[in-house]
């Protein structure tokens, strides 16, 4: 233990021999309280700290056209996704025609992801070979990125319109955008539900 010896006990000796000797003091200090404190602080900071900031997903909405100047989308290679309650996804390909039938799917890897990958096969394959080539030729990361963006914008790349009804949850929308990113789909839009589509969802019967 770190004890400071008082001068009283020494003074006698020093007086007898007439020599003042520097006392050899132990260099050991009891560090237990300091360690206690250090670990207390350590625990406190470990528990209160938030590691890393929350992650975010960036999304750009189209600028709203002034009323009366609605932009009509030219839909050629497009899938329309209709999100509804109970994590249900309905979809149809191409334009909405009177005879259009909805198909139901889910958020699993074999559901909506497989659907996107199948329809977006050409672009996905192209990006894959591009990435492989980039590894071989040590392509600059920025050029690789811009090349990928190029492919995503090509005509044969799939376009997805995401529409939600009033029962859809926020989570569903995020999950769909996530799937779009996973499936390398660059062209997508969050749009309002059409009344005809609303009816289609309401009149949907399984096994159609």
């Amino acid at each position: 233990m770190a004890q400071i010896q008082s001068n009283d006990s020494d003074s006698g000796k020093g007086g007898k021999h007439g020599k003042v000797r520097a006392k050899k003091q132990s260099t050991h200090i009891d560090m237990t309280p300091m360690v206690d404190l250090a670990f207390l602080l350590l625990t406190f900071f470990m528990l209160t700290t938030t590691f890393g900031k929350p992650k975010t997903m960036e999304i750009n909405m189209p600028v709203k056209p002034p009323p009366g100047q609605e932009i009509l989308n030219e839909v050629n290679n497009a899938i329309t996704i209709l999100l509804s309650g109970d994590n249900k996804i309905y979809w149809y390909y191409g334009e909405l025609k009177p005879e259009t039938k909805l198909t139901i799917t889910d958020f699993s890897a074999t559901g909506v992801r497989k659907l996107f990958l199948d329809y977006n096969k050409q672009a996905v394959d192209e990006i894959k070979t591009l990435k492989e080539n980039a590894l071989k030729t040590k392509m600059n990361e920025d050029t690789l990125k811009s090349r990928i963006v190029d492919i995503k914008g090509k005509k044969y790349a799939l376009m997805v319109l995401v529409k939600t009804d009033d029962k859809a949850k926020y989570k569903n929308v995020i999950d769909i955008i996530d799937e779009l990113n996973i499936c390398l789909i660059g062209k997508y839009a969050l749009v309002d539900l059409d009344t005809r589509e609303y009816d289609l969802i309401n009149n949907f019967q399984p096994g159609q």
Partner: protein, 214 residues
Amino acid sequence: MPKVKMPKNSPVLDMTPMVDLAFLLVTFFMLTTQFRPDEPVVVDSPSSISEKILPDKVMLVTIDSSGRVFFNLEGKDLRKEMLSQMSAKYGVKFDENETNRFAVMATFGMTVQQLKQYLPLDEMERKDFMKKSMGIPYDSLNNQLGDWIRFGRLADAQSSNGAPIEKDKALRFAIKGDANANYTAIKRVIEVFQEMKVNRFNLVTTLEQNPTIN
């Protein structure tokens, strides 16, 4: 046979390396820590594969699972400016004490009229108040959220005194929605932002693993 004597080991242990390590870690945590801001509502963000980090300077709109909306913009001067604009528009007077309390407050969610009652409360009373609060109104009749956004942006523009802002230091807009919130509520918030000519958002999510596709 002589007895085998166990050597008496000194129980004193040299703790210096341990202390060194402990203090190293303490220093590390002290320097890296950012105190978790006190959130008035519990929001369970949905997960995504996005690895982008939330920017520093951000206007955050929080939407909880029942569709209540909360607002936050950091920066004392910005908040004071924002509050004075709001008080002028809605005719609710805030004295200096209240303005100072507002400047250091975290996320809030109530009407401007209720804000006056909320500011003098202490920590516990505020929690109760928030539980009962209906959030900031954001319908088209009483669009206070839109005003907060507008005045927040104005205050931010004034703070830079017209000097050009670096791209990564510009004010960003984040929406933190609960995974179970109805999308209609989020859609309406996005609409409010779009009415204010904001078209680029950061949706706050938690990280999940990126599945590899074949």
